[in-house]
């Protein structure tokens, strides 16, 4: 099998588990040199051991602009360039709006929305140089809002809007922007929900259908980033076959 990403340099945020981890491994298997960032550095070491190719593990807190700039700089210093940015870091602290702990809102907006904007901002000069790709892991919540999911949906709608504006700005310069919108994936995402009703609802969804696996999303990422230059896969909406909303 030919390694279609031979030598390409990728930075994956939120790489310590779930979609980020699966994506980092899949891109490594395609021949990419992969920088992986997350706050839980111990989890990154085990990812680095599992990956077939070269991996650079980075302490990264996407809510901290200094940390983001340092991670991009370290990636470029180690591998000499940056071709693909995968924004996978995200938190979903679902719950109703009335009576919410607004500290959870701040955390979601800082991680999902501002965090992904900071990484794009820091990475863009390098991506422009290489005619690279920005790949955003959004959500079906970026397409449809539902009760109990207002702020998470707001962050993902925001990611979509930011990505479309970015796409229009950088397309002529050869940078491609991809938004992937997964439905329910078996990850830790729902484990951090503090609202007991929402936590139970998420668990229930997880057992009532054949959920997607992180590898299914990693596969869609690989599909998008291995297309020839004249093909821009701008959006992939991907749900479990059993998922209605």
């Amino acid at each position: 099998m030919s390694n279609t990403l031979d030598g390409r340099v990728v930075l994956v945020t939120g790489a310590s588990s779930g979609i980020g981890e699966a994506t980092a491994l899949a891109l490594s298997a395609e021949g990419a040199r992969v920088a992986v960032g997350a706050r839980r550095a111990d989890r990154l070491e085990s990812l680095a051991r599992k990956a077939p190719g070269e991996v650079l593990a980075l302490d990264l807190d996407v809510t901290d602009q200094e940390s983001v700039r340092a991670a991009v700089a370290a990636t470029v210093e180690r591998f000499g360039a940056l071709d693909i940015l995968v924004n996978s870091a995200g938190v979903m602290l679902a719950g109703p709006i009335a009576g919410a702990d607004t500290a959870e809102w701040t955390r979601m907006i800082e991680t999902n929305l501002l965090g992904s904007m900071y990484t794009v901002h820091a990475a863009l000069p390098h991506l422009l140089e290489r005619k690279g790709t920005v790949l955003q892991i959004s959500s079906t919540s970026g397409r449809t809002a539902s009760a109990g999911n207002g702020v998470y949906a707001a962050t993902k709608f925001g990611v979509t809007a930011f990505s479309e504006a970015l796409r229009q700005e950088v397309t002529a310069q050869g940078v491609r922007v991809v938004v992937i919108e997964p439905g329910f994936v078996a990850t830790e995402l729902a484990d951090h929900i503090t609202d007991p009703t929402m936590q139970a609802a998420a668990k229930n969804i997880g057992t009532s259908m054949r959920t997607l696996q992180p590898e299914d999303i990693a596969d869609a990422v690989v599909y998008a980033v291995t297309q020839p230059e004249h093909v821009a896969v701008n959006e992939i909406l991907i749900r479990p076959t059993d998922q209605t909303r």
């Binding site: 796409r167 997607l212 299914d216 821009a232 991907i238 749900r239 479990p240 076959t241």
Partner: protein, 255 residues
Amino acid sequence: MDDLPLDGAVALITGASSGIGAATARRLAREGAAVALVARRRNRLDQVACDIAKLGGEAVALEADITEPERADDMVQETLDRFGRLDILVNNAGIMLLNSALHTSIEEWDRMISLNVAALLHVTHAAIPHLIYAASTSPRQVADLVNVSSTAGRVARPGSSVYGLTKFGLNAFTESLRQELLSERVRVSVVEPGTVDTELVNHLSDTTRDAARQQIDGIEALRPEDIADAISYIITRDRRVAVNEMLVRAGGQTW
């Protein structure tokens, strides 16, 4: 050929005489599907069928104008007569007559509604029971309905009022059907291509065609095979994975 992902599956593709339809037919045949090719131009269909046969695939050319409702129903029946089942429907046939509302003829609007909407509905309505049956009986345990929409189904622009109307409508139809059919294990998806190098612009008047060509000048258009690849990606996923929507533009396409 036992190891191909679509081995044993039967696909019906409308607008299969050229462009995305022909490329998709070739591609699905290569993945192991038997394909029914529907279009008006007999000689072009025969050519596609012949190409597929040469590569060891199985294809039947069905000449029809599916804007005639009974012919649309016939296409599903003839596919069943020939291959015994229907696992995959690709609604690809479409026409794009770009023009301003002021200068267009109502006949141009009627033609787009007739093919992009009415014909698609007739074929789909006839196919649904057979797709459900295929999903419950085939080794794949899933069936697929893929609609070929357009970026014009996401963003409206001057000159594409009715083309956009048909494609926005198709997107809504797709999403509603998706929700209705998911419990039957029929996956319903929509692909939204940007600028593809096909005959779609050939039907435009000289001035609109020149304008359309000028706009795409300088960018490398998608090839029909690129969209066939996206359709194949959707259909060949594991049965738990439903790729509901893919928006695919040409690399340099800003709009």
